[in-house]
Amino acid sequence: MTITLTGVSKVFGDFTAVHPLDLTIPEGSFFALLGASGCGKTTTLRMIAGLEEPTGGSIRLGDDDITGLPPHKRPVNTVFQNYALFPHLDVSENVAFGLRRRGVTSVQKQVEEMLELVELGPLAHRKPRQLSGGQQQRVALARALINRPQVLLLDEPLGALDLKLRRQMQLELKRIQTEVGITFVHVTHDQEEAMTMADTVAVMNGGRVEQLGAPDELYENPRSTFVANFLGTSNLIEAEITAVEGEELRLKAVGADTVLRLPAQRCAVEDPRAGGKVLVGVRPEKISLTRAEDADSSDAAGAIREGSNLLTGRIRDAAYLGVSLQYVVDSPVCPEFSVYEQNVERDTRLVPGTEVVLHWQPSHTFALDAAQDADAGTVEEAL
């Protein structure tokens, strides 16, 4: 069932948790609300569940307006953060809770089937505190799914699990969603989790949706510095547009003479024109490094492709991570350029102090409005 939020907002006292929000979550999709804590994602979820009353706007489920409906009358169920399992009831009674409240008398068979689905059959008569975190998580999931809700809401469902278990449960949740085919709305602060599972991700910041789209779309073509920094890492350079040539923009980085190019549709600035200021971005893994002295010879290791964007710099730091190599490069245009190289043909001469040329494809470049905080969404900002 499609969920439609129209102008939904929530104000607590003088704090606006959610600014008027329009959102359509299509039927059968796995939809993630991604953002740091306090960004309004959980409040949005709770308004869909009915646990929070919107200050303004309306929520529709299919064609029905459910804005004023109390939670127990909504065909929507939630997997709570820390699961909120009833400590006084055993596993099977926890799972049967929703059915019993709706007056279903013979719940035994359904409960057994559901516990089978989440592989908890043998633990049916344990109390929640006798279960591990992963098992509790499955009970919470079973307790919600047994009601065959039209929408399942998940509030940081994997937050309390350790890394390995979290990876496993990510895949399992995705499998279950495909199996039951109902709409999942998933709130998380973990970008990897959102990208692994969701078809569509809405990145929220300060009570607003910054950008909405498929995970690869968000990653490859972020439209704001927050998205660029919160999803993965981005190198952002201040630059000025020098020319608009058809479908291509030409720019000059502040502090360097080289010309940078990028496709016009990868520029988030509306109506770009010559003289305008932008922030040019590129992901660390899209950049290649070539030693400055090899830059002119076309047959040397790491030859520079024709038409690449080029910058010069000097390696400050190099870290060997096994699967990749991470460099920090000082460049006149950007003091700390991150570069990740796949560990395929490792150039052992790339040590700190080496003068290098950084080069990448114009199609991997993006441009953002320069009027934003370049550090929005970074870890440093969060601290």
Binding site: F12, S37, G38, G40, T43, R46, Q81, N82, A160
Partner: protein, 320 residues
């Protein structure tokens, strides 16, 4: 062995059960409707009304009674006669002093006796912990009057305690201090204080235990790791962290002890009467209600002031 380790849990907050800031303000969905806004008042009404009528209102009656004069035969009338107060203080000044002195000493003794037990149950009892706690509460199950009477047996003139103390010449020493007399323990201030200490000891132990139990053991390890001797660990870490329990325990002991008259009656003599005895006698035997009311009012005022000052002082000390 001088390596400083970081105990795994020291300082690390336990897995938070607190709702995140995003969910925190929601409470339990108290909507703005007028019915919901009245709910807490309805819930509070029976208890609040009961306490207002049978706890607060009596103080006003008592206040008015305390400024009445007259006699039982002619009836009492409000005459704004404050001599009830001055008379009470003049006649029963020693009772007041004795009450607070005995209660203070008993509270101190409770702290000294109760702390090791609370500490032992919290940190050294292992699997015996719940059994020991039951044993601390167990005396409550026997009527405390019966238990106080048992002290009459224990401290009796021909009993073993007097015998031992006599042969060790301790009784001679204490009678020189004026705590005992005539080679006996019963009917002495010592017996009264002993009974008070005994009666209110669990009220000291339980709050002490609950604040000690909350202390993370890794804090002890951290202190030891940072070169603190066991005694220093206790002085600088354990005791300061148990202060809330000390404050609660001393209040729960001192307040009832200062108003008690059972121990003074059963274990003491006319020379060890406390203010409770005086109030009880005036109210129930002499039927001089104005004097009883005045004394009760003075006792209440002194305790309220003392408690307020003490809590404020304890509160600021905690901040330092």
């Amino acid at each position: 062995m001088t390596a400083s380790t970081v105990p795994a849990a020291a300082g690390a907050a336990p897995p938070s059960q607190q709702p995140s800031p995003e969910t925190g303000s929601s409470g339990d969905g108290q909507g703005p409707g007028p019915r919901r806004r009245l709910t807490p008042y309805w819930l509070l009404l029976p208890a609040g009304l009961w306490l207002a009528v049978f706890f607060v209102a009596p103080f006003f009656y008592q206040a008015s009674t305390s400024v009445q004069s007259g006699s039982l035969e002619e009836g009492f009338r409000v005459t704004w006669d404050f001599t009830n107060y001055s008379d009470a203080l003049a006649t029963y000044g020693p009772h007041f002093l004795r009450s607070f002195l005995y209660a203070a000493v008993a509270t101190l003794l409770c702290l000294l006796i109760g702390y090791p037990l609370a500490y032992m149950i919290a940190f050294r009892a292992g699997r015996w912990r719940s059994l020991l706690l039951v044993m601390v509460i167990a005396p409550f199950f026997t009527s405390f009057l019966i238990r106080t009477l048992a002290w009459k047996t224990i401290l009796s003139d021909s009993g073993p305690v007097v015998g031992v103390l006599e042969s060790l010449h301790i009784l001679d020493f204490t009678s020189q201090l004026g705590l005992t007399g005539d080679d006996r323990l019963l009917a002495t201030p010592l017996a009264v204080v002993c009974g008070l200490t005994y009666n209110f000891l669990p009220f000291m132990i339980l709050p002490l235990y609950s604040s000690l139990e909350r202390i993370d053991l890794s804090l002890h390890e951290a202190a030891r790791d940072l070169y603190a001797k066991p005694t220093t660990t206790f002085r600088k870490v354990t005791f300061p962290l148990s202060l809330p329990g000390v404050v609660a325990g001393t209040l729960l002991t001192f307040i009832p002890a200062s108003g008690d008259y059972i121990n003074a009656q059963l274990l003491g003599s006319p020379n060890t009467q406390m203010i409770g005895n005086a109030i009880q006698k005036q109210f129930l035997n002499v039927l001089d209600y104005p004097t009883a009311a005045a004394m009760s009012f003075i006792l209440m005022a002194i305790i309220l002031i003392a408690v307020t000052v003490y809590m404020r002082k304890a509160g600021t000390e905690e901040l330092v």
